[in-house]
Amino acid sequence: MQLNKTFYERNKERLQKFNGLFMTNPVVERGFILAPVVAAAYSCENAVSLGIGFLIITFVTVMLSSFIPKRIPYTIRIILYALIGCVVFVPTAMLIDWIFEDALYTVGIFLPLLVANSLIVVKSESRFHKHQKGYMAVDVLSHTIGFFIVIMIVGLIREFFGAGSLFGVLLNQWAVAPALLMPFSGFILVGLLAALCNKIRKRIEYPRKKEEDFK
């Protein structure tokens, strides 16, 4: 019977901490942190800036905030989490400014907004802080990398088909639709990606279910 099971079914428990990469991806499965992906990830440079920003701010903040004692009231803890995020934001923004010259200007308010993102404000308490430090680190990292992958895919598609370039290098002159750079295209693209991921997720979770059952 064990032999008939798929790799995912056999290792489901062990793979739990990597679920943030795909199975419980914060953007396409949970619908968190949509603003930077939808409104600001219209170029690869923006996507990388926000992806790096999110990865550092969220990972360091969630890890540091786990040291805040639980006897402090929930309200104060949440405020402290966001304030830790603000402290981490400073070196992160400086790093991004050093890597990409105009990045802070082009990503606008979306980088500072990451200090109060849903993984810090909501998921820290309801998910991450419930585990041991080692497990938590891998879990948070998988969620942040999951976000990075999605924002990169969205940034690549939108820049390639919206502006005809990748990282500012002109590559595509035959199929360009500048409307892809607008926020409404971001919503529709992320919606389509979420549907595709849903389909794949169902296939992984229920490999023996027939095609008709998925409709």
């Binding site: 949509l34 603003a35 308010i109 500072p112 200090v115 993102n117 500048p178 919503f187 919606g191 595709l196």
Partner: protein, 206 residues
């Protein structure tokens, strides 16, 4: 007296104009997608959207008054970009604590309901984002500031309602399973956003 009336008229005019801008032209949900996660969460968990919107509008109103007087002190600093997030988070945090205390003391009928959603309404990207957007317009008058704050709250409520009325249909069996719920809701928000983009008078760039 005439000067007072003229100043009042300007104040109300600014407030109304910026309120309308925040509701329609720069709706945080449809034009910048700031707070979409909060909208989706509130719709999924069937929170009272109007109560949530009222909490958010009140918090935005109070915090924007505070920020209006703090911002001129931050603006001249060369490192203001790094200082603004912690200051705004601290302002929202203090108001959050006060809002909780007020609810505990004065709310009788809906205390339980308010307490269950207040953290969602106060501590989210839409509130922080609205404050940042308001201060982006550095020359804004007090009326513009207030109008933008109230308009953002109302805009959020209307956007949430627009999503709420469609969510049940979008989660029904009539929708293919892969699209059901969250994916099709995002596409729906995208289409409403596109419609609003057209209504405002923009032309698509293709």
């Amino acid at each position: 007296m005439n000067e007072f009336m003229s100043a009042l008229r300007t104040f109300l005019g600014d407030m109304f104009t910026y309120g309308m801008i925040a509701i329609f032209l720069e709706n945080t949900i449809f034009s910048r997608s700031i707070g979409v996660s909060t909208v989706l969460l509130s719709v999924r968990k069937k929170y009272n959207i109007f109560l949530l919107g009222l909490i958010m509008t009140s918090v935005l109103l109070v915090s924007s008054i505070v920020v209006y007087f703090i911002f001129p002190l931050l603006k001249p600093l060369s490192y203001s970009y790094y200082l603004i997030p912690p200051v705004y988070v601290a302002v929202i945090g203090v108001i959050y604590v006060f809002a909780l205390l007020l609810t505990q003391k004065f709310a009788k009928k809906r205390r339980k309901e308010i307490l269950s959603i207040i953290h969602v309404g106060v501590f989210n990207c839409a509130v922080l984002g609205a404050l940042m957007l308001a201060t982006n317009n550095a020359s804004a008058s007090f009326g513009m500031f207030l109008g933008f704050a109230i308009g953002t709250g109302i805009g959020f409520t209307l956007a949430s309602y627009t999503v709420r009325i469609a969510f049940e249909h979008l989660s029904s069996d009539a929708v293919p399973e892969s699209f059901r719920g969250f994916p099709i809701t995002l596409i729906y928000i995208g289409l409403v956003s596109l419609a609003l983009y057209g209504v405002i008078g923009h032309e698509l760039p293709f």
